[in-house]
Amino acid sequence: MGKPLSRERRNTLLGLAFLSPNILGFLAFTVIPLVFSFFLAFTNWDLKLHNAFKNEPIQFAFLSNFLRLLRDGEFYQYLGNTLFLMMNIPLAIAGSLGAALLLSKDMRGGSPRVRHWLIVSAALLLSVAALCLVGLHAGAFVILLSGLAGLMLFGGVLGGSTLYRTVFFIPHFTSGVAVFILWKKLYNPSNGPVNNALARPLLALGRAINATPPGVIRAGLAVSLALAVALALWGLTRLLRMSRDGALGTAAAALPLAMLLAPCVAMALCCPHRPVGRVVGLLTLAVALGLIIAECLRGRDFPARPSQGFGDAFMLALLLMLAQLILLGLGSVAYGLPEQAADGLEPPAWLSVYDWAKPAIMIMGLWGAIGSNNMLLYLAGLSNIPAELYEAADIDGASRFQRFWHITWPQLAPVTFFIFIMSVIGGLQGGFEMARTMTNGGPAGSTTTLSYFIYTQGFSTGRLGYASGIAWVLFAMVFTVTLFNWKFGSRYVND
């Protein structure tokens, strides 16, 4: 063994020896490309200029790639697409939480006796259904579907939540090129099953719309504008109250405030029905400004610590912003309905039209995201909530909603925050596979996300320097979110 010094040296050698296979690969395929890529971002390397036939020297281009990016209209469009698709995230999180709540319930009804009843009645239900199907001379398709549902029910009653969990999880697990191709076929505008199924209900809906006076339906826009404004103002007063109570500092209020008022700004700038939207948006902003100034003049009763209630304020603002955007979208759809319904409503052409391509991708995303890893994380989180908390709530006579709102939701806050951050990081980098397999980024760039943009620049157009520059900008965004997580994540989590 020898002296301690030689032991230390021996350990270093051994440690490096064990590390060497991994670190060599790590250096070759991570660190070196990373440094290389960083330098690339500052060069004008373009395969159109620098190839076997035309070998101009590669020049150091300082910040020109980044300056060009700032002036590139396409970049903003694709950034907008990426953010638009990310609006799925809160919906997906809510879906995962809902699924996890359902799956965490006791499937056996609390006692073996009830479980036996369940099994017997499931069997009874199935046999009655089978008799009905035979009696009504049901077609093979109906029999197939009812058989599937019956099998699922019987499996669930016998096996408990595992079966349902598996069925929920499979869309996420299989997600990949194969499933995207499947959805492309499902969305086929002329003969896909989605539009085949939608055709008849839409026909009926079109007739109903034609029968009602257009003014009534157009009023839907007014109602949804009013609701969106009411939500924004309600959220604003909540934020102001939090700030007055010392739960939210000025700096920490900035982001929730911006999120809350963003839909109103959007309304004022680019509402599809301009005069109305502009007036309502501007009025709301004026009222909001007035409220904030009044609050500032009044002064605070308690000095606020910088970011104590940030998590709650952020969540509130996020949910309200999403609700407002959904309301605005629904309102403008309702506004246009009478015109469209005049010659009959037809199902949308999904992936082949600009306006519907993104919603189509988002619906597919939700199908895969509800039963995803997030659901499993929520299940684990739910099982870690101490039972005593619920017992105490029961003694206090808490309602089901109160139990959720005051125990489950706060106890799950760390999980929610983690899922949210991971989804945002994934969302910023996402959309490549769907764009490549389903739409090639189209129509007219409506499904091109940043990652697909980098791919086309770097691998189709050959602008290696520019593509690296965009990639580093993307990295900067991801890094900002990570910093945000470090700054607020642990605090929110440990509340």
Partner: protein, 300 residues
């Protein structure tokens, strides 16, 4: 993150079932509520499964019935031959083999090198170790895209474009695997390897005979995740592969879709054949997968 300490406690949602959703009330009301819960879950699960039902049924139709409203083929005349035809139209067996071959190599290399590195990071005290480990961690949050462009240029220079080696090597060394196994090894008490060393075991023997067997759950989790991740891997094969015979399944499917996408029935047969193994794999391995994902929460 601060939560890493508790990371490898077995997470068993079923073990404490009923904390969040304790059922109270009389038997009759419990029966009613649980029954309704089951019906709701069946309805949800049914909706989730519908696209797959359409996929399988369409793969069994003749081509001229694909666009019809009816999901089943006419007269229940199932065309099982569609599945065989896929193998004639495109080299589908070849795609399967490529996918499995590449994923297997990547998985083997990654698990092996990651476990060695994790052993070094968790069991051998050497100077600068923690700083190197931090560097590993830092690269985990880099978007893979940043590295893709230079990596491709490197592959061109090394003449590895369109080769298996060029596909396997960059994927074979992962910071995440190292991190995962290191966390796992840290939960194994050091007294075990100290005892082995007193008995005269070398570091290699400690690694091979003591640590690796104790790490089995972690190794299994990493193996499954790496394999599946690689089976799905899309970007790198897409840019690297040029000859059809070397395509992996995802790239092969994309090729099928873009060249003969009009034959929806055959395309769906191919899609079914690439999705169904995943479903079977999940059902068989779900114990490890679910636990692995719930542990993965800690990776941030």
């Amino acid at each position: 993150m601060s939560t890493t300490e508790a990371s490898f406690e077995p997470v068993a949602p079923a073990a404490r079932r009923g904390t969040a959703g304790t059922v109270t009330g009389s038997s009759a009301s419990r029966f009613l509520r649980t029954g309704l819960l089951h019906l709701l879950l069946v309805a949800l699960g049914f909706t989730f499964a519908l696209p797959f039902v359409w996929m399988i049924l369409t793969s069994l139709k003749p081509l001229d019935e694909v666009g019809l409203d009816a999901w089943l083929p006419m007269n229940l005349d199932f065309r099982w031959g569609n599945y065989g035809e896929v193998f004639h139209v495109i080299p589908f067996a070849r795609f399967y083999w490529n996918s499995i071959f590449i994923a297997a190599w990547v998985t083997f290399l990654q698990v092996f090198t990651s476990s060695l590195a994790a052993f070094s990071f968790s069991r051998i005290p050497w100077r600068g170790r923690d700083r190197v480990f931090l560097l590993y961690l830092a690269t985990m949050m880099l978007p893979g895209l940043v590295m893709m462009i230079p990596n491709y240029q490197i592959m061109i220079k090394l003449r590895l474009v369109d080769s298996y080696v060029g596909l396997i090597l960059p994927a074979a060394f992962s910071a995440f695997g190292t991190f995962l196994l290191r966390q796992f090894m840290l939960t194994i008490p050091t007294s075990l390897d100290e005892a082995a060393e007193i008995d005269g075991a070398s570091k290699w023997q400690v690694y091979w005979d003591v640590i690796l067997p104790l790490c089995r759950p972690g190794l299994i989790t990493l193996t499954i995740f790496t394999f599946i991740g690689n089976y799905h891997s899309f970007f790198w094969p897409l840019v690297m592969l040029k000859t059809v015979d070397k395509y992996t399944l995802p790239i092969g499917l994309l090729f099928f879709d873009s060249t003969r996408g009009q034959t929806t029935n055959l395309l769906m047969a191919a899609v079914t054949m690439s999705v169904v193994p995943m479903i079977v794999l999940f059902v068989l391995l779900q114990r490890y997968l679910v636990r692995g994902i719930q542990l993965g929460a800690v990776k941030g």
